[in-house]
Symmetry: C2
Subunit: 302 residues, 2 copies
Amino acid sequence: MITAPRIGLDIGGTKIEGIALDAAGEIIARQVVPTVPGPESVLQSTRGLVDTLAAAAGLPLTEFAGVGIGIPGQVDRASGTVRNAYNMGLSELALGEELAARVGIPVSLDNDVTAAAIGAAHIMQLGGTVAYVNLGTGLAAGTTIDGVPVRGTDGYAGEIGHLAVDPRQRACLCGQFGCLETVASGSALKTHWPAGGAHPGRTLLAAVAAGDSDAKQALDYLIDGAAQAVRVLGLAVNPGTIVIGGGLRLIGEPLFAGVRDTLTGWARASEFIAALRLAERVQVLPEGSPAAAIGAAIAVND
Amino acid sequence: MITAPRIGLDIGGTKIEGIALDAAGEIIARQVVPTVPGPESVLQSTRGLVDTLAAAAGLPLTEFAGVGIGIPGQVDRASGTVRNAYNMGLSELALGEELAARVGIPVSLDNDVTAAAIGAAHIMQLGGTVAYVNLGTGLAAGTTIDGVPVRGTDGYAGEIGHLAVDPRQRACLCGQFGCLETVASGSALKTHWPAGGAHPGRTLLAAVAAGDSDAKQALDYLIDGAAQAVRVLGLAVNPGTIVIGGGLRLIGEPLFAGVRDTLTGWARASEFIAALRLAERVQVLPEGSPAAAIGAAIAVND
């Protein structure tokens, strides 16, 4: 439950999505700007976006509880520092402190997937134990319990994309082999289907329909890896709902139906897996939901 | 924090371990009785044990907040029902309700590993996110956050023993193949080293020292699977401490040193895994700690 308006920003590799929430948690302003990499560019554009959102909401900045930011990379929430956010050209930036000095209200940071997990539970009104799987450039997850995220000790909770489980043992950027992220993610899709170009998720289904066997295999890998991610979360935290989000959602129903079918097949083979009711508990984040921006806003000062 | 005395029972396949805690959480009575399988036998012996513990504590039963029970099998905490606890001869028993009717105070049920996770955090005074890995007949885990367990939706949280990750693909009782439990557990040890007899954990090290190559391989499997379990928990919930408990603890330092070495090796290969600081965060549950009984007691009425 929130009690004051707040601003949320989801900083990604190509765009920054911003929203303002009123005290009831409803979106009262929304704005997207392109990401310009580098510390000073990120600070300038986030600062500008905060001002624009406050103006659009018709409230002075001092009326907001603060600004919440969801960002990839290694986030130290306590100090407000982000490291290794390479897509944004940030090796290390005290983003919380620096932006707070410019906007004059508190700024809190979260990992973008943790923020999306909080936002998904809010948007979809899901209580209890909820897992969120992000199929983006990478694969990561978040868990909320009655809306409160499981952040872990250093902000790494949910990094199941680096479970080394795949017998094909493809090299992962993390240094391991066979990570789930090498099976089911945007980067995996590019590896498995190089003919798909820069945005393979957009053209995958058409290629599958046209009989491209590499595209078909890439889709099958995605489905299998996403189902594995759901099973990992099912066994680790036993969620009542598993929400699938992230950029690869655009592949749509053939992906989700495939994941559900895979889970149903596993349940048929194992009473134990059947008891987790994974297939029926998978839901898809509604299209166009700014989940990470909303979640980051909700997590301000919590 | 507890505020009233309570009784905790850990019902296992061979024995029932009981303790009474005072209002400060200190053990004021402790008693172990053998398990006699079957619903009526379990009810009679738990009832007797509750009376014995109260008498030993010098308090009337009505002074206790209740009785907490940790038990394997499928536990429905809300209804106090346990199912499929085959070692105890219980296919389904409303243990909570039936025992409460006999002792006249509230009775609450938890999965034994969840109870042990709560107890381990209490005994070892660990706050924040703590994972507990139980290397027993099977392999399972529990997570607590500031002492509060992550139970999940149906009580299955922590069942990472049924992650199907092992390329050797041994059949698991759950119906899947290659479960972590087929690699690192008491039952896996019997499969990998049949010459070890009924209690292979007790004689494994001597056999390894004597040059038994099957015993050596069984130990290596145990080490690898336990390290994998630690990594799964590290990635899923990012604990500040990972406690190893369960019957296979008796193998002792060669097992734990092996787990730490394996984790150190993985950290050397991957900066990402290194950031989780798994090797230095592994601790061993002190020997003889009745963690599940204590945890079940603490969880009464929470």
